[in-house]
């Protein structure tokens, strides 16, 4: 791997930037691997990286049906936080946040990780109770959290309208100062580059069309680039997980929906943090390029098309202007959608399956980006050892049979 350093930057600047090497090899599939990860998004690449780094598996591959960074990893609103309510989720997301805090150095790449703080606003009594409860729950779990009054909200984010005459006045908010944003597609590129350097084959334009099994055990995969034999398969395919699982006759509690986001024209820095609001339902940050990044809600119906309805965007813009009247004449440049796999309890499934050797990491729904490093870390453990890591044991598929759900609809902050 070509290391980034001040020296390498200077050397390449002098030679006109002609000598930079590709981040990863364009690998062709081999006939067999020790383990194969299906899905080359952030979670899949992180899984492969930690399989190689933490567990010493080098003869492994990541299969991606499109291109690296072309799925939800490059389509989200890049928000990172760990202020979830329950102990199980708090531990999982906080583990991820701690990994984010050292990830630039670990991957030797600038992820533009910015701990600018995330505000979750309260607009009614229910929001206040839920918010204060979550702040206290976070503190008990060692996660930084604060409750802010409307005036403190205004001080932290000056462009918010906190007037009492607003239709949904701001009554307070939770703040996690260690939360923030990162450049999303660099996360995929950084993990791909680091995994490739450890010998992982990253195979693009390779779609899985069948899962080979013998005596209830996985033996390989049929793909558009030939058959690949392997005793271990990890499916990390977000919105398409149900499609892959059905190839192994596994039924999941997932529903796939389009989730949209949009960006404005770039402007000078006006918005210093990330703001989320459940009640009027919008979330807003400003990228380093200056664009305002706005998240929308999901379309109600099931869909596999990577586009959403315009009336969802219209609803989002109404909420945005309600909270930030200063943005009323801002022009929006682009909208796009990704397919998210929504789980009934708004928590992920990181689990073994009834098929031996087949593991799934899915159900992240509208909020998977923030968990990328932690998700890869615990899923790599699950795939390598065949047993869940203590952090993901509560997130097993059998919780829908036992009833031990982890309801995070409040902390998920996107209506579904």
């Amino acid at each position: 791997m070509q290391n980034f350093s001040l020296l390498s930057l200077l050397r390449n600047a002098v030679s006109g930037h002609r000598d930079w090497k590709p981040f990863w090899r364009d690998a062709a599939p081999r006939q067999s691997y020790d383990a194969v990860i299906v899905g080359g998004g952030g979670h899949g690449l992180a899984t492969a990286y930690y399989l190689a780094k933490n567990h010493g598996l080098r003869n492994i591959a990541v299969l991606e049906k499109g291109w690296i960074g072309g799925g939800n990893t490059g389509r989200n609103t890049t928000i990172i936080r760990s202020n979830y309510l329950w102990n199980e989720s708090g531990a999982l997301y906080e583990h991820a946040l701690k990994l984010w805090e050292g990830l630039n150095e670990d991957l030797n790449i600038n992820l533009m990780f910015s701990q600018r703080g995330v505000l979750n606003l309260a607009h009614n009594l229910g929001d206040i109770r839920e918010g204060v409860r979550r702040v206290e729950a976070n503190k008990l779990n060692g996660i930084d959290a604060e409750w802010l009054t409307p005036e403190e909200v205004k001080e932290f984010c000056p462009i918010i309208d906190i007037s009492k005459t607003a239709r949904y006045p701001v009554l307070g908010g939770t703040l996690q100062r260690r939360a923030g944003t990162a450049r999303h597609d660099t996360v995929a590129w950084g993990y791909a580059r680091a995994a490739d350097a450890l010998g992982v084959d990253i195979i693009q334009n390779c779609e899985v069309t069948g899962i080979l099994r013998e005596d209830g055990r996985v033996t390989g995969l049929r793909t558009t680039r030939g058959t690949i034999m392997t005793p271990k398969v990890g499916i990390v395919a977000a919105g398409h997980t149900s499609v892959l699982a059905s190839m192994a006759d596994i039924r999941l509690p997932l529903q796939s929906h389009p989730l949209q986001a949009l960006v404005s024209e770039p402007v000078k820095p006006i918005h210093p943090c990330v703001v989320m609001s459940n009640a009027v339902h919008v979330y807003l940050s400003q990228s380093d390029k200056g664009e305002l990044v706005v998240g929308a809600g999901i379309d109600a119906y099931n869909s596999y098309s990577q586009r959403g309805s315009f009336h969802i965007i219209e609803h989002q813009m109404a909420a945005l202007i309600e909270l930030f009247p200063v943005l009323s004449r801002m022009r929006m440049l682009r909208t796009w959608g990704g397919i998210v796999d929504v789980c009934p309890d708004a928590s992920p499934i990181i689990s073994k399956t009834p098929v031996r050797g087949l593991y799934i990491n899915c159900g992240w729904g509208t909020g998977g980006f923030k968990a990328t490093p932690g998700s890869g870390w615990v899923f790599a453990h699950t795939v390598a050892t065949g047993e869940p890591h203590p952090l993901n044991a509560p997130f097993a598929l059998d919780r829908f049979t036992s009833g031990a759900l982890i309801d995070e609809h409040g902390a998920a902050a996107v209506a579904h």
Binding site: V243, R251, P253, A300, Y301, S303, F400
Partner: protein, 95 residues
């Protein structure tokens, strides 16, 4: 925005409707006899096909009645809508 034909009111815009998920998930005939796994199947597990899907909608801003639709989850094309209790129209692509 989809244009959805309510079997009672005719074609209306999508914002008049609410979504109800997979159709034809019948309440268990003998609930007391169900195992935990069978309850999980009934309560949580759902089909999530990439293709033709039989699904429920309710005309919440209109007649407020439920009905079923045959819709493709990639093209969003609605091939048919029909009243509850009626069988899905027999056609290619429907499982």
């Amino acid at each position: 925005m989809l244009k959805i034909t309510c079997p009672w009111c005719g074609a209306r815009e999508e914002i008049e409707f609410s979504y109800g998920g997979q159709a034809h998930v019948a309440y268990p005939a003998d609930p007391a006899a169900l195992s935990d796994d069978e309850w999980a199947q009934y309560v949580f597990m759902r089909d999530n096909p990439k293709g033709v899907f039989l699904e429920r909608w309710v005309h919440s801003q209109g007649c407020r009645r439920w009905f079923n639709a045959v819709r493709h989850t990639v093209t969003h094309q609605i091939d048919a809508t029909y009243k509850p209790g009626e069988p899905p129209p027999a056609q290619a692509g429907v499982k």
